[in-house]
């Protein structure tokens, strides 16, 4: 699979070759692909979402259901260097001080503050002295962004259904100080995307999630939230707005 520019840019000043790496929140396996392409000795792709685990296995290979992308130059052993772990990030099934590089690529925005705090502690636990941490995420959207309305509906449905927001956009300066508070020394910040292209596929994926959360609401506004999400998605279609940043940290030692 192709390594997204965001991941390639976030990793291009990090030493990856020969390291045991962890992608926290594997999603579609984008950072995992970048870590393997850059010569990681092993990548643990950790996610609590079975579909994401399956997607990562299928895209990178090694999961037994690989059907493509594994026959080109340099791809042959990528499946062998990948371990997909289906696990809660607050209880990662790895020993203390066992990984040399951690990526949280687009992770923090799907963690509300309490979870973020627990996850950060767990990441610090599994990180070896001297380990790198790369945190890629989105600044809060500007007030006039149309897509804010869709995210607001997604958050409203999620709050009502599950008692927590679906998305929290933390400013770069916030996460910088937050991880520093967990013992990570800040090394650099760079802009990955500006503006951020929220394409039709992103917009419809978020509308789907909002509708899904709305369906879980016990009673009341479910239908209207789902309908609002659909309406907003078709009105917005796509929008390029906001900033995606990359923060790099290092653990002392």
């Amino acid at each position: 699979m192709d390594v997204p520019e965001t991941v390639a840019t976030a990793l291009d000043d990090r030493e990856v070759a020969g390291k045991r790496c962890l992608e926290a929140g594997a999603g579609a396996g984008n950072a995992t692909a970048g870590l393997l392409a850059n010569g990681a000795e092993r990548v643990y792709a950790v996610t609590d979402d079975r579909d994401h685990a399956r997607t990562t296995r299928r895209r990178i290979g090694g999961g037994g259901d690989n059907d493509d992308g594994n026959d080109g130059d340099g791809w042959d052993d990528r499946g062998d260097r990948l371990t997909v772990l289906e696990s809660d990030l607050r209880a990662i099934p790895l020993p203390d001080e066992s990984v040399g590089l951690i990526t949280a690529h687009g992770l923090c925005n799907v963690l509300h503050p309490a979870t973020l705090s627990a996850v950060a502690e767990e990441l610090s636990r599994v990180a070896a002295p001297g380990a790198h941490l790369v945190v890629d995420d989105y600044d809060p959207l500007p007030d006039d962004a149309e897509i804010r309305e869709l995210f607001a509906v997604e958050n409203a449905a999620s709050e009502l259904a599950r008692g927590r927001p679906a998305l929290t956009f933390y400013p770069a300066a916030f996460l910088r100080r937050f991880f520093a508070g967990h013992g990570w020394e800040f090394e650099r910040e760079r802009t990955l995307l500006e503006p951020v292209p929220w394409t039709e596929s992103h917009v419809s994926a978020h509308a789907d999630l909002a509708a899904e959360a709305a369906a879980d609401c016990p009673e009341g506004p479910a239908d209207s939230l789902a309908a609002t999400a659909r309406r907003l998605a078709s009105e917005i279609e796509s929008e390029s707005v906001g900033r995606m940043y990359s923060l790099a940290f290092r653990l002392p030692g």
């Binding site: 390594v3 520019e5 579609a28 687009g106 990955l192 951020v196 292209p197 992103h202």
Partner: protein, 294 residues
């Protein structure tokens, strides 16, 4: 309009090259007007080929009128000495000019073709004779093919002065060697060979002809082009920002004015905006469903 040195040819090409295939779709009067329009923007590099329908013939009148203002690129798909001579003579006749500034091997696709053109009886032998006789000034090569093949051509053809190849954000977002035209750009730059970008405005393939018959396509391009002014502008900016000498305009005359405007206004593109564009087209094109992130 900004100009950039075309390798070591001594010519400074405008950052937009006019793809004269656009003339093929116009009557002569409209073709004349389009050439004047392009020249009004200061474009000084034109590219044509004998395979572009009547484009050579329709370019002829205005080309002859403005010969000194136009650096003329032409090309041939012939791979043999005799074939190349025949096509060069034909192009000179059809264009009605004494010389072609840049004569290019057109559409190199296979290793065997590279062997053929570099052989004793190959097209390049004809190119070199023609150069000695003053019929052409510089030798170039164009390819939509494998970047490795273009790199081989750069290795094997010492007097190659320009290469023309695809470069756009769709291609730039793909990792395989078969998409690595950035490597061609880097090598050409290192060897002071001029670089001309094609397919900058490609949005994707046309739907299969049983869904959309060729006659129902709204544009004359071989691919489905981007068509909104903002999209045209960012595609131009992206291609020009990669460091190409010049970006060749799209083949449909309806798009040319938008591309001229973009080229005239070009003043660079931030790297973050370049990545945003790569990301956007990657997701538009992605087979992976339900991605929330970038």
């Amino acid at each position: 309009m900004e100009t950039r040195p075309l390798g070591n040819t001594g010519h400074d090409s405008t950052v937009m090259t006019f793809g004269a295939i656009a003339l093929n779709w116009l009557e002569q009067e409209g073709a004349n007007q389009l050439v004047e329009h392009v020249l009004d923007y200061g474009v000084n590099h034109f590219d044509v080929a004998p395979t572009y329908g009547d484009a050579e013939l329709k370019l002829g009148p205005k080309l002859r009128q403005h010969r000194e203002e136009i650096f003329l690129g032409c090309k041939t798909q012939e791979r043999t000495y005799e074939g190349a001579w025949r096509k060069l003579d034909r192009s000179l006749n059809r264009l009605g000019v004494e010389t072609i500034d840049l004569y290019q091997v057109h559409g190199l696709e296979y290793d065997e073709e590279l062997d053929a053109i570099t052989g004793d009886d190959g097209a390049l032998a004809a190119f070199r004779e023609a150069k000695q006789q003053g019929l052409i000034d510089h030798i170039g090569l164009t390819s939509h093919g494998d970047p490795d093949l273009i790199l081989d051509a750069l290795d094997r053809i010492d007097d190659l002065e320009s290469v023309m190849f695809p470069l756009n954000p769709v291609v730039a977002g793909k990792d395989g060697d078969e998409y690595d035209y950035e490597a061609v750009l880097a090598r050409a730059e290192a060897e002071d060979v001029g670089t001309l970008g094609i397919k900058a405005f490609a949005g994707g393939s046309w739907p299969p002809t049983d869904e959309l018959p060729e006659a129902d396509r709204p544009f004359a391009n071989w691919y489905r082009p981007v068509t909104a002014p903002d999209e045209i502008r960012e595609r131009f900016d992206f291609a020009a920002a990669q460091g190409l000498t010049s970006v060749v305009s799209a083949g449909d005359p309806k798009l040319v004015t938008m591309i001229l405007e973009a080229a005239a206004d070009y003043d660079g593109m931030d790297e973050t905006a370049q990545r945003s564009l790569i990301e956007r087209v990657r997701h538009d094109d992605s087979p992976v469903p339900e991605q929330l992130h970038h």
